[in-house]
Subunit: 789 residues, 2 copies
Amino acid sequence: MRLRDNLYSETTWDIYETRYDPDQMITSGSNFMIGNGFLGYRGTFPDDRAEQYVGCIVTDTWDNADGVWSELVNAPNGLWLQVLAGEDGGPLCWREASPDTWRRTLDFRYGVWCGEAAWPEAGIHMVEERFAGRDELHLLAARTRITASSPVRLEVRTGIDGQSWNLNGEHLPELVLRHHEGSGTVEAAGRTGQHHYDVVVVQGERFSVEGRTPGEGRAPTPAAVVASGRRIESSRVISLQPGETVTVERYVGVFTTNDLRESGDTSVEAVRHAAAAVVQRARNSTWDALIQAHRAAWDGLWQDLDVQIDGDELAQTVLRYNLYHNVIATPIHADHLPVGARGLSCQAYQGAAFWDQEVYNMPHFLYTRPEIARNILTYRYRTLPGARQKARDLGYQGAFYAWVSGDTGHEICPSWFFKDVLSGRPIRNHFNDWQIHISPDIVWALDRYIEVTQDRAFLISCGAEIAFEVARFLVSRVHYRVDRECYEVIRVLGPDEYHENVDNNYFTNWQVRYACAAAARWYRELHSSNPAELAEIARRINLHEKEPGQWEDVAERIFVPTPDPQTGLIEQFQGFFQLEDISPEDLKERLLDPGEYWGWPNGIAVATQVSKQADVLQLMVMHPQAEELEVIRRNWEYYEPRTQHGSSLSYAVYATSAARLELLEDAYRYFLRSCTVDLFNTGKAISGGTFIGGIHTAACGVAWQIAVQGFGGVAVTTDGISLDPHLPPGWDRLTFTLRWRGAAVDVTITPADITASSRRESTTELPLRVGSAGWRQLLPGEMVVIARG
Amino acid sequence: MRLRDNLYSETTWDIYETRYDPDQMITSGSNFMIGNGFLGYRGTFPDDRAEQYVGCIVTDTWDNADGVWSELVNAPNGLWLQVLAGEDGGPLCWREASPDTWRRTLDFRYGVWCGEAAWPEAGIHMVEERFAGRDELHLLAARTRITASSPVRLEVRTGIDGQSWNLNGEHLPELVLRHHEGSGTVEAAGRTGQHHYDVVVVQGERFSVEGRTPGEGRAPTPAAVVASGRRIESSRVISLQPGETVTVERYVGVFTTNDLRESGDTSVEAVRHAAAAVVQRARNSTWDALIQAHRAAWDGLWQDLDVQIDGDELAQTVLRYNLYHNVIATPIHADHLPVGARGLSCQAYQGAAFWDQEVYNMPHFLYTRPEIARNILTYRYRTLPGARQKARDLGYQGAFYAWVSGDTGHEICPSWFFKDVLSGRPIRNHFNDWQIHISPDIVWALDRYIEVTQDRAFLISCGAEIAFEVARFLVSRVHYRVDRECYEVIRVLGPDEYHENVDNNYFTNWQVRYACAAAARWYRELHSSNPAELAEIARRINLHEKEPGQWEDVAERIFVPTPDPQTGLIEQFQGFFQLEDISPEDLKERLLDPGEYWGWPNGIAVATQVSKQADVLQLMVMHPQAEELEVIRRNWEYYEPRTQHGSSLSYAVYATSAARLELLEDAYRYFLRSCTVDLFNTGKAISGGTFIGGIHTAACGVAWQIAVQGFGGVAVTTDGISLDPHLPPGWDRLTFTLRWRGAAVDVTITPADITASSRRESTTELPLRVGSAGWRQLLPGEMVVIARG
């Protein structure tokens, strides 16, 4: 199936290209990447180098090399491989290979990259497969098969290329390169400048020619190893007869200091040893056994995380592509690491969490694998000290979560990052200090987690403290307006980032009210149910008993914009409707330079009603019961044509709400736009000389929400699961898994009926409702088929 | 005495130039202007036209011709005169006259402009004098004496030139030109587009040749009158013998609809009649009698308004120049008109009041002619409806005074006025909606007026209502911060206009506290002393009895930054000290274009500690007892080198406070800078193509404060008058007049002693104190000489 020019799918579990397109170099490198939440390895070619944006981005390595940007390390590339052959013995460049048999494939069922290329003049055909271990996270494995079509003498160079591409400075300023003759491995070890984290990459390989054994005269020569600059290369020479194939397997172990924190020994020797051990174990196994274990791990995930669409292969393919990227971006193995806004696809967005994490990435896991959601929320608990610090620094109480949150939760969003392209001067954006909704958003996610899991232990160990500290922050952040007898929230950015410095943003004020109410609710609950534990929390954070009353007071008396009785419209923020009303298309005409930033402080959108992304609608998607359906419709109709979609978070909101409003054509259109942000490269990868490429992981995660919560019409609440599906035309079947407390349920929606099947592993009854019908209980192991009205 | 290149003074009551300098065309036109608070007539030459920025700006004619700018009308020029002579009979241009005898003089004792020029090739020498009637405000009078040095045939053209220079559109789109043969006058009548105000200019003249009587053969020919386009000209031909002089007197009456509001008949006929009557009366009198009456009126003013400096002619001259301009800018005849920030020197700044009016222009009158201050405050009372409207429009209660206040007090400051010269886009500055200190500043001035006059009647009729409405506004504008248990003032501009959108600005918060306290104090006082009148005020403005308690609560609990215990520094606003610390000179290097605006939203000063003007110090000058002297010193030393003086309001603050701190060299330097803002043209007259010239009337008014309150060390409080002088080196004597309640006292300070003489007209004893000595009472008619320690 052709997805677009030079992009195809065979199975709906893969994408492939059939020619190299230099214009798409950055995008394809991201789209075809492999990864596992510990590291991300970009989908570049074996012989690519820094100029081709090779990336092996390793989490938990935050380093600030330029005084501004804290970002993850791009580790030395252990999968580097170059073949020299042909008359002149020159290198065979993958990007310049014959277009006839050229193909780059990503199998996203199992996270396997596959490249195929031929150099007819040299008589060479190559296929490389690679994966980042799903079961063994520190392993990168590649197998390259080089086949001769005529007698040929090859030189195969492999090794570690430490000349890494970096966005903001060199993070491993010195690289120690070693060759271990005993094990036949090479090693590159560097140390970050800021925190002195060791980052070690060890590479070992296995050469074989079909039918030959080592020692035979035509086997590869022993490796000649050369270390030079930041690169260490092994070189082997081998002669092949027509039809013969040499296979080069490479196993790369990647370890850093922070991966050994729990072991107690974080010496550089321990890190080196750990990386070497990964290679050792892999070489003690076989390629087949390794990939088998890797696949099994993926199968286990997909069992819950997949969403199946029958009848629409395009939708199925793009959806799975997004789910895959959401999974590989997420450190599901850890509870102290964030989901990066660009995952591990590059260093952009600092490998760090934004509100995207809770609102866009997490629901996919929350309702299918809640333990992953718990990890994400535990990360927020662990980063409370950073959030407290930020609040203190800005003169507030409690926890003001970082807009850009790395390992510690201290704010790493610089104050200056965009550039005014007309003057060349940096712009002081206030994402870090004015976009306060991040804190209540986390409480919102926490409440969703508690709601669906009833994980009281987590509430006591982590959740309550988060909520109390956020509520505390909010009490110090809101302002009471004496004449109006209400609280206001002054000077914020809502989700629509073109409008900084606004007051009483509907989304923000709603979330503030919600978070304060949730904190107070949990306080009152724990006061009854767990007084001793509550007392311990209160002691720990020095909570005064008057504070919950303050949270309640804010929740009761905060001003939140309401629908206009005539029009049903809700004003995005105070004064929004007084701004110039112009379409995004007409507004764009005013650009003096295509690279101009549209927003604060004097971009073209600032004084207009053109929004970067959904704002009012965003709230209505996160709180489906916040407003009447008719109000949602009125607001969808008003805001949608005024939205410029300058954020990849935008489409999903319009898609999900359109599905609910039965605007199925719009919903489907926005679903596709959301799912193809990266795949069809609708954005820019480089802007004003700055790399902003990489995978939009929020759009990836939210694909699940559009499908399940939008088209599937799923609402998971404290009452159970309700379904009110609106399938797009052509969708014969939509299948997904949900978890609600002890129950795991497989749901299949067809135009005719809904089948819900509670797995045998379920431990609780599941209250289930379809449309406006009453609740029914689904017992463990039970299946129900409900005809659709 | 030479003041600077091409600027001199003979008597310290005048300035003159000896050559025409086209580069200073705008500045000289302003500096040499005449006026009387009703109209301002720029100091241009008789034959100048719109291109030379001829201006006859008439107050109370606000008109918006371009949809953006509301500004005063530049009335048709009734003093136009052109002489044609010489071999070719061409016009004699004043700007191109012989440099030998060329002189332009302004006598600012009597507001008389005088030009002298000669055209030797034509054998002509001319002298013109003109004045704007101080006793008859609607009269402009000019007398031109044309002397022949050889036999010559002249043509003298006079009339009304309606081709006026306008900043923002034509305000009198149609001009009706009339010639009244009976009276021999010409007339130009126009009507403003917005409010249909009639503006009428009538001109009549008198020709005479010494020694000749009408009818004599060589008398001027009868006038030939031609009306063409927007101009009406009379032409006369006359032949002169060597040594003969023809004198052309012109009398111009200027009237508008609004000048007749009280008469009840505002028909265009009434306006025309009124203007004609002015001319008629003047022609029935003589030049000498007219100028005599005019001078007498000025003498009456100077008796109180002058400040005399002996021993420093430069200081004396520049000081009197400024006092003169403050007087002619002020509509002392009316209580419904503002003092324009550029007075009536041009249309810039919209002929409108800023906070300058109360803080810079008014004290000169307040302490010398308090009835003029009362007029100014009555203007603020009359404009309460506009201020209420502004508050309502922005979602507040009470009275939020206009940042730019014309006749009605409705905000006429546009939202967009500066231009980003790099992009060409307009800038949204928030002077109109965030610079809230204007409201409490008015209460501050009101309190000063009540303090010095004890004018209880005014408090009851006007003052209390202003104060209550301002306090009401402030209660709705401040925000209570629950965690800090204090009120904050969020998002303001303080006096330093480079920093918009700041919180808890020391100046603003102090003033808010002060105004709320004053309103509450007056409420409580009137509650005891005038309960019936208070009840009537309360009824009128629907005042709830809980409101004064709210004002008191704000006054008690508002956060106002205090001096750092270590450094004594007060932070200008929250976060100011975190901004980049750079000198104005170094900062200037960053300009990409000299025309760039330095401030909001992304000018070069925004993220730095460079201030446009004094801010913290401004408060300390307005409230001399606000902080310890040592704190004032520390802050002077900190802020002074960080101040760029982008506002003409800046120098005076540093001058006045430096005098008090006995930094006499700095004080004198800043005094001169403040007094020569216009005189030495230290600013730009045109910026980014926009005319920003004209007289900085605030700097003019505040000159009195520097001299009397700064160097004279005068503090006028409820206790009486105290003096703590610090005369600059070389000042042998400083003499001025003060009024305090019923007392009028003439004060003379010398290095040796202080003489205070209570005039016989005084009706009360005056408590007087020098330095730290005790209070003494000065009886009416009494004089005391106190030796200085």
